[in-house]
């Protein structure tokens, strides 16, 4: 390259660069013309992944600074009451009249609830059978409740085995991991238990010295083998460690996706075990009642319909997460902050919902978006000109839809046959662990990956054969004779499954004594000859050594 051409190139490059700069400046100018005051909020870790993504998006698209500190829903509500944040995020409303005898939470300034995202409280677990990760565990609601109330303590419990005919459940202790801080996930989960299994839940409350009926609580009581960890990330982090094998926790679906771990499919009223995907949550929440009476609880959720929904696609532990926004200027909240908060809320309800499914949440339906728009208008300082349902780019509806419909729910697929209660069990993975789990129990497997539903027996035979070739001991031929005797199969399989970490011995026994004796003889054989030699040697020799 001659110097001349180099010069020409440089000039060209300079022109191109300045052109780009000018274009980008003019293009960016309208967006940058609006300046946003930074806002900060705190609260739920259940919806933190979504908020973190949205925070990043508005920072890069609009130059908006949103700080979010996930410290648990209770922390969020408490911070809102203390007036140290501009907004809070919580799964449960302010406990104005708590059932369990704790003091009511009464905010001193005006507030409104605004739904921001839907999701499923899922049961993330870490379980291996013969060193192979289980990714297709199925649990009924009663079993879940019994696990988290300390009634069922071992994975080979007959009730769990009955839910999972395709797995030879190992003889391993269950470690329920609960939240140690005040949490909305805990509140949602305990609310579900107190509504669906009140006898088990109240018996548990009595055993941990809480007043009954204890209803929902944000602080999970510690019990038995349970571990308590703080924040959603803490419980998910514990389960995902190697030593977390045998652990199960309740956490938003997104955390399981993020950390690459499976979640349990939970039995719904229609008799299907369902994973909390975006569509199953959307279907479930079509039956949620929203409190439409204006007042302190306007827009809060009543989930009894969700728990008992007869739709086969329902995930029963679905719920909404709420942003608590101030409706009065005061303290650190100014109209300028309200302007940012309004714009951020508008982004969340429309554009932000596009990413909800990818993150492990479910987008909001149209009726809640419309209600959310009303709440935005109550935020002092919020700019309402951009708030328009027809410009709202939300995946659950198209312009002109009826507010009650949900595109996601309409198009949601029916569950596979292998997810129905019965001897068939799907082998496909869940959440962050998509790998198939080989059939190891007495039941048959089924695969949900194919476009058309394969016959369960064929799929099971294939997976069974594949698993057998790995040489693991407890793999049973799915088409074998064991198919009928579920209990017998499970005990046989259970017996063959070794627990990887348990010591083979329990304390001191004859074996240990023999070992000690052998070791003593060995030491004596090495040490005694020189000592005796010195004793027996003539005096002169010893003196000579000195």
């Amino acid at each position: 390259m001659t110097p001349k051409t180099r010069w020409i190139r440089a000039i060209h490059a300079l022109f191109a660069l300045s052109a780009v700069v000018i274009v980008s400046l003019t293009g960016a100018l309208p967006a940058q013309a609006v300046s946003y005051d930074p806002i900060s909020g705190s609260g739920s870790t259940w919806s933190q992944n979504a908020l973190d993504q949205w925070r990043t998006n508005v920072a890069s698209n609009y130059g908006m600074t949103v700080n979010y500190n996930g410290g648990g829903s209770s922390t969020g509500r408490s911070d809102f009451i203390a007036g140290v944040v501009h907004f809070a995020v919580s799964e449960v409303p302010f406990q104005l009249a708590p059932e369990n005898g704790t003091a009511p939470e009464v905010p001193t300034r005006g507030y409104a609830y605004m739904p921001i995202v839907a999701g499923g409280t899922s049961f993330m677990y870490n379980l291996k059978i013969n060193g192979v990760r289980v990714s297709n565990l199925r649990l009924s609601g009663e079993v879940v409740t019994k696990i988290f109330t300390g009634v069922i303590t071992n994975w080979n419990d007959p009730a769990i085995q009955a839910d999972n005919p395709g797995l030879a459940m190992p003889d391993k202790g269950i470690v329920p991991v609960v939240r140690s801080d005040g949490s909305g996930s805990t509140a949602q989960f305990t609310l579900w238990m107190s509504k669906q299994h009140p006898d088990l839940w109240n018996a548990f409350c009595t055993s941990v010295n809480r007043p009954t009926p204890c209803g929902l609580t944000s602080q999970y009581p510690t019990f038995g083998n349970a571990k308590a960890q703080s924040l959603s990330s803490g419980v998910a982090g514990y389960v995902s460690q190697d030593y977390g094998e045998g652990a199960i926790t309740y956490v938003e679906y997104s955390y399981a996706l993020e950390s690459g771990f499976p979640v349990a499919k939970v039995l719904n009223q229609a008799g299907y075990y369902v994973e909390p995907t975006a569509s199953s949550v959307a279907v479930a929440l079509t039956t949620a009642q929203i409190d439409q009476t204006p007042g302190p609880n306007y827009l809060t959720q009543i989930l009894d319909g969700v728990y008992n929904s007869a739709d086969a696609r329902t995930y029963p532990l679905s719920s909404y997460s709420y942003m608590i926004v101030p409706t009065e200027v005061g303290g650190v909240f100014t109209a300028g902050k309200g302007f940012t908060l309004g714009a951020f809320a508008n982004y969340m309800l429309c554009e932000g919902q596009q990413q909800a499914a990818d993150l492990g949440y479910s987008p909001l339906p149209m009726n809640l978006v419309l209600a959310g728009f009303d709440q935005i208008k109550r935020i002092p300082g919020a700019d309402t000109t951009g708030v328009d349902i027809n410009k709202c780019n939300n995946p659950t509806f198209k312009p002109g839809d009826s507010p009650s419909s949900n595109q996601l729910a309409l198009t949601a697929a029916q569950p596979q046959d292998c997810d129905k209660v019965g001897p068939n069990q799907c082998t496909t993975g869940t959440a962050g662990a998509p790998a198939e789990t080989p059939v190891s129990g007495s039941g048959t497997g089924g695969s949900a990956t194919g476009g058309t539903t394969e016959t369960a027996a064929a799929a099971a035979a294939a997976t069974g054969g594949a698993a057998a070739s790995t040489g693991t001991a407890a793999v049973y031929d799915a088409n074998g004779a064991l198919i009928s005797g579920g209990a017998a199969g499970s005990t046989l399989a259970g017996a063959a499954v070794a627990t990887p970490f348990a010591l083979a011995d329990e304390g001191w026994g004859i074996q240990q004594s023999l070992m000690l004796l052998a070791a003593t003889f060995l030491v004596a054989a090495a040490v005694l000859p020189p000592v005796f030699w010195r004793r027996l040697a003539p005096r002169g020799g010893r003196d000579g050594l000195k």
Partner: protein, 416 residues
Amino acid sequence: MTLTETTLTPAARSTHIPSPDGIAIGPRRRVRSARVGDRFNVLGAAAAAMALATLIFGWVTPLSGGIGWTIVAFLSFIGFYALLVSFTADFQEVKDRVMAVLLSSAGVVLFGALVFVVAFTLVRGQEALPHLNFFTESMEMAGPLDGLDVGGILHAIVGTLMQIGMALIITVPLGILTALFLNEVGGRFARFVRTISDAMTALPSIVAGLFVYSAIIVLITHQRSGFAAAMAITVMMLPIVIRASDIVLRLVAGNLREAAYALGSTRWRTIWHVVLPTARPGLATAVILGTARGIGETSPVLLTSGVTAVVNLNPFEGPMISLSLQVFDFVKSPEPNMIARGFGAAAVLILLVLALFAIARLIGGRGPGDLSRRQQQRVVAASLRDLQRITIRGDLRHPHQPAPLPPAPKKKESSS
């Protein structure tokens, strides 16, 4: 120094300084070298111990695991070593040798563990550290699923520097002035101040954070901010700085002060020209070590600074995160990338503390009066010149008793 003093006393008139000439100086002997036999004892015991541990673990009993092997090997090493030593020595010597081994192993275990803790963090931090954006970007544009090539800890570094800077602006003048008050002014009130500040060194750092949270954030500012975090760090650091400066000032030799007063200087001039310059390296060390503690503490910041992903240059508004809190926040996540970022941030934090420590060593490794080699030589030369001068004057005054001249100042004799 001692040379000068002895010659200055009246008795020196009758003391002769022995002349070093004519005395044969033999080669310096090493008194603590190990004998060949001792070395063989150590080697033999080590070999025997390892062999025995391997035999027990692999052959005689079905034990396994590195930790068990190490413990068995160590115990049998002590046993074999004691046995070997006892062949040639009495009980007292055996005890001495075994204790020497135990002391050395305590040192090895401790330093091994501590170095391992630091090295573990640095090695795990290597995943994030090579990315340049880790130092030049904040987490503002990095979502929960982004890789390590997006986002960094610039906001935390800036936050750390601002918070510790604000804390230093308060603690350094206040701490050193208080220490001066304790040492130079004194009185009943000073004793009270010392008692209170000693008591406050016992204040757990989380309680300092809780105080600032409930007194400043909840009651006054109504938001978590960099300023509140700096206040919490101040409450925690102030007693440390006062105490350390107090000790340093107390070490300033009293005769320096007395000399200044004898020359007629005022108290303030004595402090400004004598006490503070003498204590300067020590004071710098005290401040820097206090800074290192303040930077590293997470708990007061946890309650007061708030969490943010954005570079915040306004200490009075909005949350401002620091490195230690950012580490804590990163590693809570179950996501591998976040944990890698956490280790990277921890590595940066360690390097920052190490750098501070190195600076502290550089400017204040010695206490007051503890001089460098060149300074020592200069002092010795000066005092020898004085000695010579005084001796000559003494000779002029008492010519009937000639004292031998001291030797010319030599650098060799500087060691006392």
